[in-house]
Symmetry: C2
Subunit: 317 residues, 2 copies
């Protein structure tokens, strides 16, 4: 049987490599999704997910995450959770509950505490400095403060034919307290059906929840479209529709995999992702919107990777 | 031009009557949705929405609401908001913001306070007594505590051709702190596109968010199905699929209206709703699941209404 994993952004790559090793040995899609996301949540230099993520306007890191099982449609989700090392693990545990499986704010944090999840002050010195600098910039230049919405979204297929999807994000930098994006919202941030495939999103949550794009991509795959066709024919028409009806479409990028391990992406901004399956080794690609509702996908260059590494670790004054 | 409004549950009827009067005079769909929901939020005897709603396990009333404009796809939503008289009005105001338009927990309550929305202790004496009684029953009989998830969901069409949708709910009685259902989640709790139509849901949120049924009904109407066909062909196949894959489908009921004012509903439990348009006076109906994926819809009887009135106002010991 086939297996595979696809995830948003270059940051997902180390987790994807690890999860493919485990999938090859018969590991489950649920474990692949969770372990891929945990790697990103724990890495201090990714500033939009977990530890090291950038805080809200009050300097508090509030995180969103979700987990979905494509066999049963079980969903667990948290939004605005604080001081928890692995929001994705909390979401996954919640997915087993028939009631109360989506928790927000203090209630989510309390659940994590009562259930023994690792607590941590998730605000790094580096993130705090960036927050202080941005506050100063805002005061000086009257800038729109919002920036950075690089959610990790993962879809995995295991060799038993099961699929799962998951997301984790610290949301918009400088968001208002309690702001939630698309990441914990099924249909918008993620959707998966083991009989068909799955999809996950990253981008401006406020606009993604207007389109229900993850669900729509899965639905189009169910109608027989390839993951790439489903992504192209969902993301670009919605980009056009939103531009026409709302005036402007925020950034959004979607990844998808079907139940044969085939994959696709579509995006209206420059977008990196990591993907691998039983026949293709894990690799990072860069995608851009092409002409006539198509996506241009190229292998990442060493030059890009070097510049990225330098950028995320650059000293913060 | 046509106009109309449809809403979940008998409790919506007074608001629907009022909103049709206003739509007839050229009022907007957005105002119709908000005013319908405000009537229900303010009425102390409806125990699943706003003032008089039943609290969570800790005795705190936490409310969810959302508003969507079908012209622009603007969405505003709140979840776990406390001490606010009209969550729907907060959601509607948030829908105008490009960022931070979905707020949860303390952040949502803080936003309402900063923006001058009416604050109130939303827990009535009656709701408090029901909560105390349930705690006692739980201790005595080891009951599953969860009950009551009668969200108000409204879809309105105005004579200018614009449509809006909205929801408001105090969620599951005895829910865990921070629990969120489908009501504030676009695609699951509601969806509307003025070029097509809209839909809204009530039922077990944890299961509704597995199916993205509101979006799917709108999508099917876009393909040319009538609202009733779209409801039947969305709700019952998903009921069957969830029963097969998850083991059991919770209660769910959907209402829909297209951009001609035609309407439909589908439900897997006994379900009342109120609807009217430019050719049909507002009326309450009762719906049940029929054979072969159909819905049996009958006018409500005076007997049913009398029993309902008596039930919701029965003294609580």
């Amino acid at each position: 049987m086939s297996f595979g994993s696809i995830a948003t952004w270059r940051m997902a790559h180390d987790g994807i490599v690890e999860s493919l090793n485990s999938l090859e040995k018969g590991g489950t899609a649920g474990d692949a999704v969770e372990s891929t996301i945990k790697v990103v949540e724990a890495y201090p230099y990714y500033k939009s997910v977990g530890y090291g993520g950038l805080p809200n306007i009050e300097g508090i890191l509030q995180m969103d995450a979700a987990f979905m099982c494509g066999d049963t449609f079980k969903i667990g989700a948290v939004a605005g959770i604080e001081d928890v090392m692995h929001p994705i693990s909390v979401a996954r545990q919640l997915s087993h509950d028939k009631f109360n499986s989506f928790l927000v704010g203090e209630g989510a944090t309390k659940y994590a505490m009562l259930n023994g999840f690792e607590r941590r002050n998730m605000l790094t010195e580096r993130a705090k400095k960036m927050w202080e600098n941005r506050l100063a910039e805002m005061a000086e230049h009257n800038l729109s403060p919002y920036d950075g919405h690089d959610t990790i979204g993962v879809v995995s297929l295991d060799s038993h034919g099961s699929m799962s999807a998951g997301t984790s994000s610290s949301g918009l930098f400088m968001k208002k307290p309690g702001r939630v994006g698309d990441s914990p919202l099924s249909g918008s941030g993620f959707y998966v059906d083991s009989d068909v495939g799955g999809a996950a999103a990253t981008g401006l949550g406020e606009d993604l929840m207007k389109g229900i794009l993850s669900y729509e991509i899965v639905r189009k795959m169910e109608e027989g479209l390839s993951p790439q066709e489903a992504c192209d024919q969902t993301v670009y028409p919605f980009h056009d529709k939103l531009t026409k009806r709302y005036g402007k479409a925020g950034a959004f990028s979607l990844v998808a995999m079907n139940n044969k391990g085939e994959w696709g992406v579509a995006t209206n901004v420059e977008f990196t992702f990591s993907v691998g399956n039983d026949s293709e080794e894990a690799a990072i690609f860069i995608a851009n919107m092409g002409e006539n509702h198509t996506t241009v996908i190229e292998p990442i260059t060493q030059e890009w990777l070097d510049a990225y590494e330098k950028r995320i670790k650059a000293p913060i004054k």
